[in-house]
Subunit: 306 residues, 2 copies
């Protein structure tokens, strides 16, 4: 059985103002064929087109906080979804004021969307389950920034155990038996034979997690929420030479992001949200690697398998 | 004496949703070194960067109406101006609700701009002077669209008359005499010689005008406002094959835009705001040319001298 899809597409990787080669924060996550947009800086819809992502497939939008570089692309994206004939409900997870703003925007432009929006408001108090279905769970957790801000944790649910096909036929297992075995239970087959789960099943692939942390000051409190994530995205607006400015503006350095990754014992770290003052972003990588080796830089258009 | 600058840079030329090669409506007009941004679709700040326009030089922003493809780029542009240290006042001309929206936006993101915004509200009742200084005048005039919408007329003021240098010295003209002559008056010089204006001056270059019409249904009432403009930009969202849809959505066809240009006896017509349904925009040109020859298509990045 092949693993279910779990892939990230970086749509924007710069902080504050977009440049001609780096867009503001946005990522598209495909988790078990659920398409989740994470933050939505200006021109995200253009980036989606550029990288040939089907944006009508997006059913969930997660907005971490209400600084412009994380949501100024949302009005345009929602409008285009409308103009291109979207009918299915869109779920938006973010601060309550985001709804207030979108409502005013559509009111003044006298726009009546053809699809409905289901709002789920976030808060920065503890871990909260935002969405769940049979395959995935998504949580928010608090980040420390100048205004209310949350990170997001995307988790696969435990996959069913894998059944040995040869033994399945040998023991003439019914579909009911198979379902019980996939869930880890033991069964008794039609011949009255007691079959222990471990005799006929193998462990499924490990359920994976992706954690998204932007924007935030260096804060070890976040470690509990993202512990052992397979992939962690952590903002690194500055290099260590500007750690004072990072603290003052409630942002992090590459070194600090790596320190969080190490403390949380994640498998892999992605750095992003680079300040435009740095011409060569390679220095973010070398700085982080002195503390945490398994890391890479977000660049617009990059695909990363979780 | 060389003519003063009067040049247009097309930043976006598509209708409704931006594509990867055509942005939403926006134009940068340099009129006598006054930089005016006309409409501001999403990603306009990125287009300004791409085409190497200095966006801090923009002191005037004109928004025709509150459909998203004409103003969704404004929040990002204003934020970037702030982040990049702008201090000088920015003048924004547009519907009153635009201010309401921007106020809410900056309120929820807890942003206090470092520069002030001077708002001038437009209405769609007749011709209104929005801005005037010693070199230019800008007017709004009503367009007929689904919501309140205005066009804009940019006019050079009459330039001073040109004085023949040889005669100026021969007649020993004082600076006071010269100033009077430049304004078209006759003078008496220090020797008591009466000098008729026509004897020592030449006509200045003709004062030029640029008219901007987007979005609008075909409406001959607009002709009075744009009569004899040197350059007219008129939207042409559709070709004639979809003239019914154009009417229904309060837009124009290429043929209709050309009809307006002809009736207004302008010198030159620019077509834009093309619906993304048309792959080959050359057809807009051929359709318009059957009625009005001197026309061209707006394409992103194109510069047009007025």
């Amino acid at each position: 059985m092949s693993k279910q899809s779990f892939e990230l597409l970086i749509l924007g990787s710069t902080a504050a103002s977009p440049s001609s080669d780096r867009n503001s924060s946005a990522q598209l996550l495909n988790i078990a064929e659920r398409y989740c947009l994470i933050d939505c800086g200006e021109a995200t819809q253009i980036q989606l087109r550029k990288f040939k992502a089907k944006f009508q497939a997006i059913d969930h939008v997660f907005i971490s906080h209400l600084h412009g570089d994380h949501f100024f692309g949302l009005p345009g994206l929602l409008s285009s979804m409308h103009l291109l004939g979207r009918k299915q409900t869109l779920y938006i997870y973010g601060p309550e004021n985001l709804k207030k703003m979108m409502d005013l925007l559509f009111e003044v432009s006298e726009t009546q969307l053809n699809y409905s929006i289901q709002w789920v408001f976030t808060n920065a108090k503890g871990k909260n389950l935002l969405f769940e279905d049979e395959k995935i769970e998504v949580y928010s957790f608090p980040l420390k920034h100048r205004i209310q801000c949350t990170g997001f944790l995307f988790k696969e649910k435990n996959l069913p155990r894998k059944i040995d096909k040869f033994l399945m036929e040998k023991h003439k297992l019914s579909q009911a038996d198979i379902n019980l075995l996939k869930n880890g239970e033991d069964v008794m087959n039609a011949d009255g034979l007691f079959i222990k789960n471990a005799e006929v099943t193998l462990d499924p692939p490990k359920a994976r997690t992706y954690a998204y942390c932007s924007d935030t000051i260096f804060d070890l409190n976040v470690v509990d929420y993202i512990k052992n994530a397979d992939v962690l995205y952590h903002e690194s607006t500055f290099l260590n030479d500007m750690h004072e400015r990072a603290t003052k503006t409630f942002h992090s350095t590459a070194q600090q992001a790596a320190t969080i990754a190490k403390a949380a014992e994640v498998n892999h770290l992605i750095l992003g949200h680079f300040s435009a003052r740095y011409r060569k972003i390679e220095e973010f990588l070398s700085e982080a690697k002195t503390i945490f080796e398994a890391c890479e830089l977000a660049t617009d258009g990059k695909k990363i398998k979780i």
